[in-house]
Symmetry: C2
């Protein structure tokens, strides 16, 4: 299944594994790439830029196919050394970088000079157009249903994807709400050149997180997420648990970020994924968990997503032409 994105990234299938804090490590990314998708290692999950270079090396030992690194730039009191991480991405030898959060413009000359393909993830048409203007190669447009930060516009993919398609000239991925071939076929129909899947790949054999988290995703429904930080205009979609519900409660009653800082500290999220204590802290997950029922290998996810999309498109195309119908 070829699209503008598979051509540009040099991959076989239009399926990209999204950047995920604490989740996007070498075995998962390598498995997605080896199956013909694009695997992405999350830069800031590695404690130092040197560790990121080593993690890419660990993936490189598992596949010689294209790999990417995600770098999410968020406002922070003690920001990580972003410029050093960018240099590590260049040094690591990956061919694709996915940027998210801040505008990637300050790094574009360096990244394009090094021959990298730049995917920029954003949550609105206006930000997508800005990314196109500063020279990114691909936009990943992230709808309201996504895990993590959906922005403040609350426009879901059914509307946001075609709106992005009407506005953009460059290729774009649809992100948020995708877990199977039904979603891939729908994304292509809406005008996207492929899909980005995060929650689906979290819940795979190669994903180096606690089994209890994967089991929680399998058991959860599409209604089991919370939107936190809305009053701070830094909304994030996370699993519904005692911590996230408490954060929502405190902020709705007029609390400040300082009042919840301890509850949402990164170390607590890491404990969820490493120790499997589902209530240790907040952790991002998408509404699409309601469609996830198993823990297959990442390669199987890529293959069955593409196979199912092809079957759906074939069946619908035939039925559209055949008066006997579906």
């Amino acid at each position: 299944m070829r699209t503008r994105v598979t051509e540009l990234l040099g991959i076989e299938h239009p399926v990209v594994q999204g950047g995920m804090m604490w989740v996007g490590r070498a075995p998962l990314a390598a498995a997605v790439s080896e199956a013909g998708g694009l695997g992405i290692i999350t830069a800031l999950t590695q404690p130092t830029p040197a560790d990121l270079v080593a993690e890419v090396g660990r993936a490189r030992a598992l596949t010689d196919k294209p790999l990417g690194v995600n770098l999410t730039i968020l406002p922070s009191i003690n920001p990580p050394p972003y410029a050093d991480y960018v240099r590590a991405v260049v040094d690591s030898g990956v061919t694709v970088i996915e940027t998210a959060g801040a505008n990637p413009e300050p790094f574009m000359e360096q990244l394009k000079g090094a021959g990298l393909t730049v995917i920029h993830k954003c949550t609105s048409v206006r930000h997508a157009l800005k990314a196109e203007r500063v020279g990114v190669d691909v936009v990943s447009i992230d709808g309201f249903e996504c895990a993590g930060h959906p922005g403040e516009d609350d426009v879901p993919g059914l509307v946001l994807i075609p709106a992005a398609g009407d506005a953009l000239t460059i290729p774009f991925l649809a992100s948020g709400g995708f877990a199977d071939g039904r979603g891939l076929a729908a994304a292509l129909a809406l005008g996207a050149d492929g899909v980005n899947m995060g929650t689906r790949f979290m819940c795979t054999v190669e994903s180096e997180i606690a089994d209890s988290v994967k089991q929680a995703i399998v058991e959860a429904s599409e209604t089991d997420t919370e939107l936190i930080f809305r009053p701070l205009r830094n909304t994030a979609r996370v699993a519904s648990n005692v911590v996230s519900r408490e954060v929502v409660r405190i902020l709705e009653e007029g609390g400040e970020f300082a009042d919840v800082r301890e509850l949402v500290a990164g170390a607590r999220g890491r404990r969820v994924f490493e120790e499997g204590d589902l209530d240790a802290g907040i952790w991002s997950v998408g509404q699409v968990q309601g469609l996830i029922r198993d823990v297959p290998t990442a390669g199987e996810v890529v293959r069955r997503t593409v196979r199912q999309a092809e079957e759906i498109l074939d069946r619908l195309s035939l039925s559209a032409r055949d008066p006997q119908g579906v």
Copy 2:
């Protein structure tokens, strides 16, 4: 393009015009049905049950194809005579009723006894399953992006449609966020048997509302809606205007329904549609307005939606099989 819904309703195309207060009148419904979709007259837009029978007669003079009536049952201090409207629907001779709001169970025996096909609109999988259990023929599953009442779960169609498909046995329509053939193709790919479109049909030649409302929809983007009544757990998506923003502000500051009752009175909404004063009151519209750029005939909407969906499905099906790609 045949599906389980076209077979069941006896229509040519899987495109249903949604029930819309002040908008769903005879000329629009007749134009949709005459073009091969299903047109729906909104019962409560008519001041009395007798007026509803007359309005169906007005549509019947324009088409002999299947027609439906929408009956939305909402909690109210002075409820309309719902039972009398149900009898009027039966007497009117339409073949389809779309119920929404309350559970249609109290009227099911009467409706099925009269040979009507019952479509029930709802916003969650659990309500869809309940509707299936009480014997409705078709569910119309309405995502977070819809105009009017999206419920309180905030699950968009990209996730809600396949989740409904996994749970339901009976045919179902996808509603909310659909305006063109990209959306119809996506809905079918996600497992629905057709689409329900409201905002798109509001903005057509035959829609008997003020031209300024249609022009406002053409000019608006996907971000120009407000969710009102959220603190009352009776959320409604309406056009962003001075009235809706004021309602949001009052309720966010702890106001009660009594504080906004005058602002949201039905008579004010009617003034928007009849007099074209966009700030006269609140009026429902979907985020999909961001994809609407013109005011065609309703028949042209049906025809081009189906044609575009067929073209997309053919192109994607071919490209899936052809290694040269899209």
